[in-house]
Each structure stands twice: as structure tokens, then as C-alpha cells.
């Protein structure tokens, strides 16, 4: 995968499949510490310690359509090959948290990519799931909480309505721009 954002999409799809009702996604860029940290935390079904150990193995998957499961190994490799670290914590019945730290200035760090579009895709195509997305750059931060949006919109207006969908996209894009000042990451 060429972008960190696409890895985030892939890992968050795992949370959706784990029947999460709330998925928290945090992207924190800290130029002073030279880190880019991604955390994806869900309240889905979680995994046993054995399963949590096995997801790092590319030849483990719960799918029956194919024999390999590369999502988590890809993300781990991307972080570690950029001088960073990777951690997965899971508890059955409680949920799973995946954290990846990248060295921001590392030559092999893949670009963040189009994170606003990825978050937009996740929100619009997984409407029953609540998302809480936090984007930090240095001291500044921006939060989008679909629970708050749902409260304003009521239950009968879908996030897929063109006007709502366009609002979400613009909200994400301007929020990011105001947080990082348009820096290429």
C-alpha cells in the first residue's frame, strides 16, 4: 500500500467487521518529536491473546475466501521500516487498539496520503458505526465526531445524502488544513 491513509482504511475495516459501534481514529503528527502516530481503537468483539499474536502472521486470517491476511502485517512493516514501532492490544469482548508510530523524517516513511477522503469513505459507507476522528499537528488539533453530527441531523437524514456527504468532506478538508497549515505530510 502506497499511503498510510490506505492502511488506516484497511485496519478500520477490520474494526467494522468486528462489529464495533465506535471506532476512534487518531493521527498525530509531531514534528518536534519527529513522529507520526496512528491509533485505531474499536469496541468490537476483540481477540483472544492467541489470535492477537497470530494476526501479525501473514498466513493467518479468519476469512474463508483466501488463506492470507496481509492488512496488519503491511501496517506493521510500514511502521517498522520507517524507524517506528507497532503495537496491537486486544481483549475479547472489549475491543482492539492498533498503534503504529512512524519516524516522520525517515526516508522510507510512506506519505500520509489522502486521509480526509479515507475518513469520509469510512463514515459514509459505514453509517451504523460511530467514528471519532482526531487529527493533531503539533499543539493544534481537529476532531470530527459522527455522534455529534447525528445529534444535529436526527436519525432520518443519511450521511449519504449528497449535501451531507459534501459537508463531511469539506469539514474534514478544512479541519486538516487549519490544523497543519497545508503542510505536505
Amino acid at each position: 500500500m502506497p499511503e498510510i491513509a490506505l492502511n488506516i482504511l484497511d485496519i478500520a475495516e477490520n474494526s467494522v467487521r468486528a462489529d464495533a459501534s465506535l471506532i476512534g481514529i487518531t493521527v498525530s503528527v509531531q514534528p518536534e518529536e519527529d513522529t507520526l502516530t496512528v491509533s485505531i481503537k474499536d469496541d468490537g468483539c476483540g481477540m483472544t491473546p492467541e489470535e492477537a499474536g497470530k494476526v501479525l502472521d501473514p498466513f493467518f486470517t479468519t476469512r474463508t475466501t483466501r488463506k492470507v491476511g496481509l492488512g496488519v502485517p503491511f501496517f506493521k512493516q510500514a511502521a517498522e521500516s520507517a524507524g517506528g514501532s507497532f503495537q496491537i492490544d486486544s481483549e475479547i469482548g472489549k475491543g482492539t487498539e492498533v498503534t503504529a508510530v512512524f519516524r516522520l523524517s525517515h526516508i522510507d516513511r510512506m506519505p500520509l496520503g489522502d486521509i480526509s477522503s479515507v475518513i469520509h469513505t469510512l463514515i459514509v459507507f459505514n453509517e451504523p458505526v460511530d467514528f471519532r476522528y482526531t487529527y493533531r499537528y503539533g499543539e493544534k488539533s481537529f476532531v470530527l465526531d459522527t455522534g455529534e453530527m447525528r445529534e444535529i441531523l436526527g436519525t432520518e437524514i443519511s450521511f449519504r445524502e449528497p449535501e451531507v456527504s459534501a459537508f463531511i468532506r469539506e469539514y474534514l478538508e478544512t479541519g486538516k488544513e487549519e490544523t497543519d497549515g497545508g503542510t505536505e505530510i
Binding site: S117, R160, S165
Partner: protein, 127 residues
């Protein structure tokens, strides 16, 4: 900073206009594979292109774009499946946003399957 308050205005404007969005039987279902294999081969822009086009052209009554997991044909991703009531499922493989829009125009609107992008065409080509 854009404010969530804008949603209040959207809500007020849409009050009463929101029809029943329940899936009707005649709707065409367009499904994009969005597992690791799909995402890694570029399924996200395909999904966005299709869903944006459906919204822009006011086709959401007729066409429903959704996502699915892996159907086991990872080497052919991005895959788009078209399920039309009363017709056989059509599987499009190795899609791009451009091919997807062409498929929307020719197949979903024009009723003409774009054979060259289908799984069977690609598999026949290998024989």
C-alpha cells in the same frame, strides 16, 4: 473553521424532502470489494468515483453503491459486481475510476454490459 451548525441548516432544508430510502426491489446493487486486496489495488478511488457519480446524477433511487470484503479473486482487484434484479450478476475486474464511470454510463444507464472489463473476458484472454 467550518461549523457543525451548517448541518442544522441542511437538516431544516431537507425536512419533509427525505423520502423513504428503503432499498427497493428494482434497485441495481453495485458492490466494490474493499478488503486489503481491493484497497491495495486501488478500490477506494473506484468506490468514490461510483458513489459520487450516482449522487451527482441523482441516481440513488435506481442505483445503490456499497462495499464488501474479499470474494477470493484478489489477483483481479479492484472488483466491482453489478447485481441487477432478474439478471445474472456481472463481475468487472481490474477496475479504475475511468473504467467504472464508463461502466456506469454504458451498463447501469445504457443496459449494455461492458464485456471487455468483465471477469469472463479477462479469463478467456488468458486461455
Amino acid at each position: 473553521m467550518k461549523s457543525l451548525e451548517e448541518l442544522r441548516a441542511i437538516r431544516a432544508k431537507m425536512q419533509g424532502k427525505v423520502g423513504v430510502r428503503a432499498e427497493n426491489e428494482n434497485q441495481i446493487r453495485v458492490v466494490v470489494g474493499m478488503a486489503t486486496c481491493g484497497i491495495a489495488s486501488g478500490a477506494r478511488p473506484v468506490l468514490t468515483a461510483l458513489s459520487d457519480a450516482v449522487q451527482e446524477q441523482n441516481l440513488s433511487e435506481k442505483i445503490c453503491v456499497t462495499q464488501t470484503g474479499c470474494i477470493g479473486l484478489c489477483q483481479y482487484e479492484p472488483i466491482v459486481e453489478v447485481m441487477e434484479p432478474g439478471k445474472e450478476k456481472v463481475t468487472y475486474v481490474k477496475m479504475t475510476p475511468e473504467k467504472a464511470l464508463e461502466m456506469l454510463r454504458m451498463h447501469l444507464l445504457g443496459g449494455q454490459v461492458v464485456t471487455k472489463y468483465t471477469l469472463s473476458a479477462v479469463q478467456d484472454g488468458l486461455k
